[in-house]
């Protein structure tokens, strides 16, 4: 449906988007994920024809956005980062204007506006001036605007920013229902949001694609970071010595505080239970005790942090870690080593803690 090839956008000497390529297939919900300043909005602006690229092409259902903009734009509904609202109009007037500008025939227009207003829940405020609406309602009017003309592709740039938790849930529901009939691309720097609604995730950092995979694929990849966390009174050096005796196991992270050492042990070829047993036995044989022994599942969050860490993506280049085919068979060495490299990048055990990340 959308094909982005070698997209590059330079602002003077600063490169916002750097050789980005990806394909969006019909009827799925795509998430464009990346930290602030990764080039998400720039990419979306280029796809929707609001911004010209320095080089590269964007095809929407075969229509080049730069060569054949009118046909391409007819297929796309876009909500930019800041909802583009005429604040002196009412939502109804505004949607009528957008409908007319998008060339929706007069007979169909009123019907469609009514449906869209119901879907976005703005029917109650349709006759109030947009100026007087709350941020949440403005955002919904913005989404309604993108839906008018029932375009094949709907692109929403950070659609839930500034909404309260209940509104966020409603908007996510709306996006999911849109995804049933249309192709949806949303962007966010919040991982939980993407994993809540998207089928497919494209992670970009520093203007480059660092991952492009289905949600399941990424989750599978995240398991590479799984490990066993132990807490013990044994000094660090002794812990290292004991663990070294277990074949396949390796210490990824170790720290001491208040006379207790906390270590994260990678399983290598062992299963979760196998590693737990082996560690337990090894400590027992050495005559040492464990305070706690706990299997920790890694998460998308850690994958996200790992992929978007500037130190990681710069030397690695996009090709090494990108592409769906790597996702299914991640090589244990490469993936497993990375978290231990970045000590402070750390081990983030809880999924969804990124919700508060701004």
């Amino acid at each position: 449906m959308i094909e982005v090839r070698n997209l590059t956008k330079k602002y003077g000497s600063h490169t916002a988007v750097d050789g980005l390529s990806f394909t969006v297939e019909k009827g799925r919900i795509y998430g464009l994920l990346g930290p602030n300043g990764a080039g998400k909005s720039t990419t979306m602006n280029i796809i929707t024809g609001c911004l010209a690229a320095t080089s590269g092409t964007v095809l929407i259902d075969g229509h080049d956005v730069f060569e054949d903009p009118i046909e391409a734009k007819k297929l796309v509904g876009y909500l930019p980062e800041m909802p583009p609202l005429y604040t002196e109009m009412t939502p109804l007037e505004y949607l009528r204007f957008v409908g007319e500008a998008k060339g929706v025939p007069y007979e169909k227009r009123e019907r469609e506006i009514k449906d869209v207003m119901e879907a976005t829940g703005i029917t109650d405020v349709k006759d109030r001036l947009i100026r007087n609406l709350s941020k949440g309602y403005r955002q919904r009017v913005g989404i309604a605007q993108a839906m008018i003309g029932s375009p094949e592709v709907i692109i929403l740039d950070e659609p839930t920013v500034g909404l309260d938790p209940l509104q966020i849930i409603e908007i996510r529901e709306l996006i999911r229902s849109l995804g049933e009939t249309k192709t949806v691309v949303i962007s966010s720097h919040i991982l939980a949001e993407i994993s809540a609604v998207c089928d497919h995730v494209i992670i970009i950092a520093g203007g480059r694609k660092v991952a492009d995979d289905s949600l399941e694929g990424l989750e599978k990849r995240a398991t590479v970071g799984n490990g066993l966390e132990i807490v013990t009174r044994v000094p660090e050096s002794r812990v290292r010595a004991i663990v070294a005796g277990i074949s396949g196991a390796e210490i990824r992270d170790i720290s001491s505080e208040g006379g207790k050492a906390t270590a994260v042990i990678g399983p290598g070829q062992l299963s979760a239970d196998g590693l737990s047993e082996a560690v337990f036995k090894a400590f027992a044989r050495a005559g040492e005790t464990l305070l706690s022994l706990c299997w920790k599942e890694s998460s998308l969050e850690s994958i996200f942090l790992e992929l978007t860490d500037p130190r990681e993506y710069e030397p690695a280049g996009p090709d090494e870690i990108a592409g769906p085919e790597d996702g299914d068979a991640p090589d244990g060495d490469d993936g497993g080593d990375k978290p231990s490299d970045g000590k402070d990048g750390g081990y983030v055990p809880l999924f969804g803690s990124g919700d508060t990340e701004e």
Binding site: G49, C50, A52, P80, M82, P84, Y86, T87, E88, A101
Partner: protein
């Protein structure tokens, strides 16, 4: 284009600027009609229009200041870019909405000669040709001010630039006649103008080389012509600056002459500045 036109036209009457514009025009045309036609007992409405052209100088920049700048400030330009519309359709919609507001004013002023004709004989042909000239003058000024509004996202800057340009147009003939007409002054003037054009182009494109190139392209013929046939420069600067005296072209209408040359002149100003506005809008996607 239709949708943009309707929205823009309505917007002028939801945010007062249209009413203020019409109010000011009606107030001053009333005052001048009173003074010229009633108190001084001239049946010629052209004289009233001649005085009105001065009012346009202030009121047109105020009407047009928001036309393009406001979209940029409110980020609604992103909506316009993402709609399946060409930049030319968007700009044309906005321009026609502006001249429609002005047409209301001109249309209402067109009633005055009819009223005057109840009390004496009014030369309708010259009166209405003057009104046409007045309308075209306004349309040309609107095109210039709309272009200036497209350059900035601040309405205030747009208005100040607009009033500055109007003043320059208004005073141009007087200023030009102060300049000496010998060929050397004229030559230096042309060089300065070429450099200025290069500077403006360089600033607009934010590219030093394009600006320098434009200046060079202008300078080469200027210098060549001077070396080959310097005499053509005698008085050339004055007459070229005279082309910028937009208001003076209306004088022939105001004195009762139907000036086809002036009509062509106004139409070309309109086309040129609407084109520049389209280019500016289009160009912004590249920055």
């Amino acid at each position: 284009m239709g949708a943009i036109y309707k929205r823009e036209f309505k917007a002028y009457f939801t945010n007062m600027s249209g009413y203020v514009f019409l109010g000011v025009i009606f107030l001053f045309s009333g005052i001048f009609t009173m003074a010229v036609n009633l108190l001084s007992q001239y049946a010629l409405f052209e004289y009233t229009l001649g005085n009105m052209s001065f009012v346009l100088m202030i009121i047109i920049p105020v009407l047009t200041m928001r036309s393009m700048a406001e979209d940029r400030r409110q980020k609604t330009d992103q909506l316009l870019y993402s709609l399946p519309l060409r930049a030319s359709a968007v700009v044309a919609g906005k321009y026609f909405a502006l001249i429609s507001v002005f047409a209301i004013a001109v249309g209402a002023m067109g009633i005055v000669p009819l009223i005057l004709s109840l009390f004496g004989s009014v030369p309708f042909a010259s009166t209405y040709s003057a009104l046409l000239g007045f309308f075209l003058l306004g349309c040309a000024l609107i095109a210039v001010c709309m272009f200036l509004s497209a350059l900035t996202e601040s309405q205030i800057i747009a208005a100040v630039l607009g009033i500055g340009a109007m003043l320059a147009f208004y005073l141009m003939n007087g200023l030009a006649s102060l300049l000496p007409t010998d060929k050397t002054t004229s030559f230096v003037g042309f060089i300065l103008l070429s450099l200025l054009a290069g500077l403006v182009i360089g600033l607009l494109t934010k590219n030093v080389w394009i600006g320098a190139g434009a200046a060079a392209i202008l300078l080469i013929p200027v210098i060549t012509v001077f070396l080959v046939k310097g005499d053509v420069y005698a008085g050339a600067l004055t007459s070229m600056l005279g082309y910028l005296a937009v208001f003076d072209r209306f004088d022939s209408f105001a004195s009762g002459v139907f000036d086809v040359g002036a009509i062509v002149y106004y139409l070309s100003i309109i086309v040129f500045f609407v084109f520049l506005s389209v280019q500016t809008t289009e160009k912004r996607r590249w920055s």
